[in-house]
Symmetry: C2
Subunit: 391 residues, 2 copies
């Protein structure tokens, strides 16, 4: 059997990520590969750090892209900041809090779970109660933007509570970075990780992370070695830190070209402008979705503009709809995860994909498809409702 070159179809990516990638980023990734210790590449890394600091709104020196997807960025935070025997409070309101628990336990630590209903924000009161019950807890971890439900939590308040109880904080910002307000320094976040393939609109495979001085001190004061060689920040710092670069691992050169370009695009648009754009397109989608009579999973005020979770109407076959959208429109929307599987759709408006064309295209495709499958929706009003918001 001879296998041929792979030529993917041209999809519109409106799921939970990867999102549509700006062609500028795809072109950047095809630029000539140079060495990971080349002085020109090292200068690019310095620019990358500055661009990531801007995106995270931080001055943290230890700000870098992990050479692997967001789940490796999550693991980097946990394996460096948690030691065997530690007690870690994990607030769970979706799939990714559960993955945090897995990480804690694999570090030989104990996870104290603070549970909130999926689709709601993390309740600060419950966190406070748990911290009072567990005065020996050392770390608090939670998700800013739950990709599995579309709910956002109040980072500033949760960090304040954790600090009042002498805990360091680990925050999952995989879906929020670049898409909705995130202010690492102003909110005093200690350790944070994200992904390249959400609101930065880059291809998947890299995980921007940032650690403040409090986190760095904690890492330097560890009694045990970090269990992962690949993710040990003591070693990674030697390569990404300032001064002479020590070889650690071979950086994913061309993927980093892509992330650099994505961050230049964000810088050129302006972070606040990007947040406003994400919000406007969300409002337009929402107007259209509600005009069809569909309902959002997350209540107003806790909703992420970049990830719109919608209840699947009664009697409608999840897979049939998503398959039709993919087949007839080359449009990908997201399925539910975990307990939400088969019950919700997740419509992403992330980064480059957060634009008026995508909003209108998705509403048209969804309305036509649901109509064809005899779903109980209101027809003929979605587009005009969205247009009113888009102006």
């Amino acid at each position: 059997m001879t296998i041929k070159s792979f030529h993917p179809p041209l999809r519109t990516l409106m799921g939970p990520g990867p999102s549509d990638v700006d062609p500028r980023i795809l072109e950047a990734m095809s630029r000539p590969t140079i060495g990971h210790l080349d002085p020109v590449f090292v200068s690019m890394m310095d620019e990358m750090k500055a661009l990531l600091q801007y995106a995270f709104q931080t001055k943290n020196a230890l700000t870098l892209p992990v050479s692997a997807p967001g789940s490796a960025g999550m693991e980097m935070c946990f394996v460096n900041l948690v030691e065997p025997g530690d007690k870690v409070i994990v607030c769970q309101n979706g799939v990714f809090g559960g993955r945090m628990k897995e990480n804690v336990e694999r570090c030989g630590a104990t996870a104290i779970m603070v549970e909130d209903a999926w689709g709601t924000a993390v309740d600060p009161g419950k966190l406070e109660d748990s911290l009072k019950k567990h005065p020996d807890a050392k770390v608090v971890a939670f998700v800013h933007a739950e990709t599995s439900t579309g709910a956002q939590s109040d980072v500033k308040t949760l960090v304040e509570i954790a600090h009042r109880h002498n805990c360091i904080t680990i925050v999952d910002a995989v879906t929020s970075l670049g898409g909705s307000p995130l202010k690492v320094d102003e909110w005093n976040v200690d350790a944070i990780y994200s992904g390249s393939q959400k609101c930065l609109s880059c291809t998947p495979g890299l995980s921007p992370v940032s650690f403040n001085e409090r986190a760095v001190e904690r890492i330097k004061a560890r009694k045990t070695k970090v269990q992962s060689w690949f993710l040990d920040l003591n070693l990674v710092m030697g390569y990404w830190g300032s001064g002479k670069r020590a070889y650690h691992h071979t950086a994913p050169i061309n993927a980093l070209y892509g992330l650099h370009e994505a961050l230049v695009i964000l810088q050129d648009e302006g972070l606040e402008n990007a947040w406003v754009r994400h919000d406007r397109n969300h409002q337009a989608l929402k107007a259209g979705i509600e005009a069809m009579g569909l309902r959002f999973v997350v209540k107003e005020g806790e909703r992420l503009p970049q990830l719109n979770s919608i209840h699947i109407p009664d009697g409608v076959d999840d897979t049939a709809v998503r398959s039709a959208l993919l087949k007839d429109y080359n449009l990908e929307i997201g399925a539910g995860l975990g307990v939400m599987a088969g019950k919700i759709w997740r419509i992403g408006l992330m980064g480059f994909a957060s634009n008026a064309t995508n909003v209108l295209f998705c509403l048209s495709a969804l309305e036509e498809t649901l109509g064809r499958l005899n779903a109980p929706i209101n027809r003929g009003m979605a587009i005009s409702s969205a247009h009113k918001v888009l102006g």
Copy 2:
């Protein structure tokens, strides 16, 4: 400060990797991103598995690209196959054996080191002696192609010895895959990892791995959880295995397009033809290098064709030469690592970069640069010597 798009210089990459990337691969990476659960992408993954099985010469079902660089592939092998308290014999004859030791210890296991001089192959006799002394050892790990020195070891013999003593084997094939003979099934290798940026000529960032049934059984029989969530094969198998794909992490889509294309190129050339080509270009480079009066670090018979380590002549400034090659010729050759730093150069002829043009270009550039810096070399014979081999 406004940061602009990054435009790398056009280098010739003849270091220890990344090597020159075929433009076909760069173009493949810029194809439209699709979702990691898209049925079209899933078909591409099946092709990828078949192509990797061909490259590794194996029928192992558990053959896949790890979504991170080679050092993560190494870590995947260790964290899945080693449990706390295990005894692991590590044969070290360069930098990467040392990294294996780090991995073993971070798994809570004990590393028994079998040391050979840097620049020589692993001595099977020493391994056998160590296994006799440590009958409770469970794993034997060694490097097939030591990227830090250019020495290759006899995988078949070392695996035979390990199996005779009831040990499972972990083999580092980062620099050998696609460049010199490697036969996973015929040699009975249990677990093996490689990198995308060496003789596959892809961009860095992915690590092809393969595990046989013996290794899979060992993983399934573990008493403890794998300490890394990201690298836990029990979870990764759910995504890369056959049947329904369970979401684990978001795969690096476009990087995988690149690896797929690299493997199609290898398939089209034919693995044996690629080995012959690597050998012929090595012979040509060798003829030129020796005509200049320079000496190889590794003795004939243990030398890797794809990585040529050469003693820096007495009195010659390592950095001055490499900087001049980079500045004046846009040519990257590799420095020495660890105890070899400042003492050797590493000239890669890997994958796409293993071609007659690069051999002649490198010899010319090196001869001119060394001559200009008054190094004690024979001049005027390198090119004609190489030409004789190239025919």
